[in-house]
Amino acid sequence: MNHYPIWKYLLILFAIVAGLVYALPNLYGESPAVQVLPLRSNLKADTVLLQRVEEALQSAQIQPEVMSLEATSIKVRFADTDSQLKAKDALHAALGDDYVVALNLLSRSPQWLTNLNALPMYLGLDLRGGVHFLMQVDMKAALDKAAESTSSDIRSTLREANIPYAGVTREVNAITTKFRDADARRKGEAELKQRFAGLDFVSSEVAGEFLLVANLKPQEKLRIQESAVQQNLVTLRNRVNELGVAEPVIQQQGVDRVVVQLPGVQDTARAKDILGRTATLEVRLVDDEHQIGAGGVAPFGTEIFKDRDGTALVVKKSVILTGERINDAQPGFDSRNNEAAVHINLDAVGARKFKEATRENVGKRMAIILFEKGRGEVVTAPVIREEIGGGRVQISGQMDTAESQNTALLLRAGALAAPMEIIEERTVGPSLGAENIERGFNSTKIGFIAIAVFMIVYYLMFGTISVLALGANLLLLVALLSMLQATLTLPGMAAIALTLGMAIDSNVLINERIREELRNGVPPQMAIHTGYENAFATILDSNITTLIAGIALFMFGSGPIKGFAVVLCLGILTSMFSAVLVSRALVNLFYGRKVRLNKVAIG
């Protein structure tokens, strides 16, 4: 009656052994490490780089514990934080700016475990320390910007097609083009409709003027917003690379939000500075012909911006280029006079536009304007010496080396398509993270011991079996979390403790049922059998209701709640397995084989 077929024992044994293997890496702990990542796509993490890293470490007399070459990076593990920091500086000096040298933690678990893909649990920021940002993309600004560039495109299209027009004005997202007569408008409309598929055109006549009003189509708006978020993601990735973080997370969340997680970052002010540089870059012409009007009013078609020294410049409103046309920007030196310079590489569209603009404006100045939170500042306003083709641009003059590096970084990190604002921050210092782990671990440990002592005293042999099943539950849960590499947070640790506290319910139910059967005079073997049978339906029902709560929490929870929900759901699954199958297998092994069983130790 109380026998399992051999395959069931084997299945349980297999699960336990697999659990042991995958839970094992958590016992080894982590060591300080340095991770080297190539920044540019033409550089690869290969054996040559490994050689360089090795030599650099050797010449700095730093002894690494383990070095490993991975798909995209090289990881070097050290015995202590001191040599880790020394190695970081040594490697940075040896490899230069083309590589990110990031601090990281690496598991000390032996190679054979790593080969089995057995990794320690992935700790969340509240346990390992780091920064979490939630950033919101300003969609209104993205649309504004698109409408502005569309209106300037409309102008140039009409000009190219030689269609006379009296002016183009923009009000929020509606772009109005004025024509002198209906004929010009008809031609203009035909031309523009052909060029701008994303616009809806409506013509009207107001006060004898022939107007053509263009609006962004709804699907075009969606496309602009989507691509704004996408571009901001790319830009943020570049910026985070500059920060040198080992395992950053940069993800879209919802329609207009971006999550940035930077494990191990301690200098949050700098991180915020670089990320929060909600900068958009624009290249425009300086209008040196007009003076600033009385009371600081900008002449028609221009705006006034200040440069870093506070000098005001009159700049035309029309934009030659925006930051997204910049492929690359590097600090360097002017080959003629060895002055510090920034070398810029434009994409094809950018190169064409730049060529046109420079051809028509030799001798004039152009301004590179950095917009932060709606305020523009002129980074530099060099004079155009000649027509510049081929998309290779050099800015020099009045810069020192540090400044050229800074400007290059700003240009290279690219402009954001729309401004972003940090709307949520969670920073946890490394010492608090370690403390959180200890607290979570301790409370689970003490709780587990208390339950174990009580169960063994109260239910004797069956209590012992319940405790073993509970231990199996913990093992499987930890193994599952390690296998899935789900993020473990402090609420997640609380969920581990809570599921253990709840999982014992199944065993209590079973044990109480068995006692009841025995009290009714049922022989022990039969009592065990019916006890398990009868308890199962109840166990299933009560676990499913908790699972419903867990799934709802997962769906609607954010951050800490989600971490809690994941562990809760997984814990319910493992507890069903261990409380029913594992404990039954143990009972079967212990009592099932005895033919004449007169008494069982159930207290």
């Binding site: 940002f133 939630l134 919101q136 949050t268 002010a269 915020k272 929060g276 604002e421 940090i422 709307i423 949520e424 921050e425 969670r426 920073t427 946890v428 210092g429 010492s431 608090l432 959180n436 607290r439 301790n442 409370s443 689970t444 003490i446 709780g447 587990f448 339950i451 009580f454 005293v457 109260y458 402090l490 609380a494 403790a497 809570l498 253990l500 506290g501 709840m502 319910d505 139910l509 109480e512 339906a537 109840t538 029902d541 009560s542 676990n543 499913i544 209701t545 908790t546 419903i548 709560a549 709802a552 929490l553 769906m555 929870g557 954010s558 800490p560 709640i561 809690f564 809760l568 207290g603």
Partner: protein, 310 residues
């Protein structure tokens, strides 16, 4: 060892009036405090900045307050946190004009005062986020309730689903009432605990309901009230032991888990205590009121019934 050797069924259902009035009074009290005092929402929901800083020696809170006033943060709350060396600073959203930058400004100011200050934790929540969290929390609560009612409806009968969810929402309101009365901070993790209690305490009702169903099938001639009494009495031992075990774990978290887990564990403790009470003394009387009967489970078989009847 055995704690519960109850020979006769305890007539819980005959206490119906007393228990219903007790739970009604606690429920109304909870609602009253929720209405008059309201919940003390944490920074997760209200928005604002919370910083935890650590000093190498005992911190002088007055000096910290003075420094914060100096940089224009007059309404900030400064208090010790855990030990005399740890300080918790809370700045409401309306004083914050610089968004996420605020924490850097504060830290910089405090560094000038005492270079040993170490940043332990920062939480900044903008106004947009708090609103979303409240909405999502409410959605989760609704979804859990509907899911549980739906499941119990399928598994038992609609009466059971309804009785269970009323009993459990009663628990939730009481937990919230406690948080309102003591003005404990209601944070995201407390919300998680509340929702977990919802799932957890339904277990309790489910176990009793399972027995009721079983009894309806076994004890054919017994009155409904006696059937319920028997079901409760026989699951009592399990109820107390299970909750005792869960509570051991939760108590361990309450005292050892640190500040973050403290209120989480507190919410669970209240939830566990009241779920024992409500599943027995709220859900079951409700079941009686809804008129649960044998026919809900057993389709009356005419021929057999005729044989049994005299």
């Amino acid at each position: 060892m055995e704690f519960f050797k109850i020979k006769k069924d305890i007539p819980f259902m005959s206490y119906g009036k007393v228990t219903t009035s007790i739970s009604l009074i606690t429920f109304l009290l909870a609602v009253f405090f929720l209405a008059t005092r309201g919940l003390n929402f944490g920074v997760d929901f209200t928005g604002g900045t919370v910083m935890e800083v650590h000093y190498s020696q005992s911190a002088d809170l007055e000096k910290v307050r003075g420094k914060l006033s100096e940089i224009g943060l007059h309404d900030s709350v400064v208090q010790n946190f855990g030990s005399s060396k740890d300080v918790l600073i809370q700045v409401p959203l309306k004083q914050n004009t610089v968004g996420a930058k605020l924490s850097d400004n504060v830290l910089e100011a405090l560094r000038v005062q005492d270079a040993s200050v170490e940043l332990r934790r920062v939480e900044f929540v903008g106004p947009q986020v708090g609103k979303d969290l409240v909405e999502n929390g409410a959605m989760a609560l609704l979804l859990v309730s509907l899911g549980i009612v739906g499941y119990l409806w399928i598994r038992f009968e609609w009466k059971f689903g309804l009785a269970a969810i009323i009993a459990n929402l009663h628990d939730v309101v009481i937990i919230l009432g406690f948080f309102a009365f003591f003005q404990w901070e209601f944070s995201l993790s407390v919300l998680a605990a509340v929702l977990a209690v919802l799932g957890y305490s339904v277990n309790e009702s489910v176990v009793v309901f399972d027995r009721i169903r079983e009894n309806f099938k076994k004890m054919r001639k017994t009155e409904v009230a006696e059937i319920i009494d028997n079901a409760i009495t026989r699951t009592m031992s399990r109820t107390i032991i299970t909750h005792g075990c869960t509570q051991m774990m939760v108590t361990s978290m309450l005292f050892l888990g640190g500040a973050t887990l403290h209120y989480f564990a507190l919410a669970l403790t209240i939830g566990i205590l009241f779920s024992i009470y409500s599943s027995v003394l709220v859900a079951s009387p409700l079941l009686m009121i809804f008129g649960v009967s044998r026919e809900d489970f057993i389709k009356p078989e005419k021929t057999e019934a005729e044989e049994v009847l005299p």
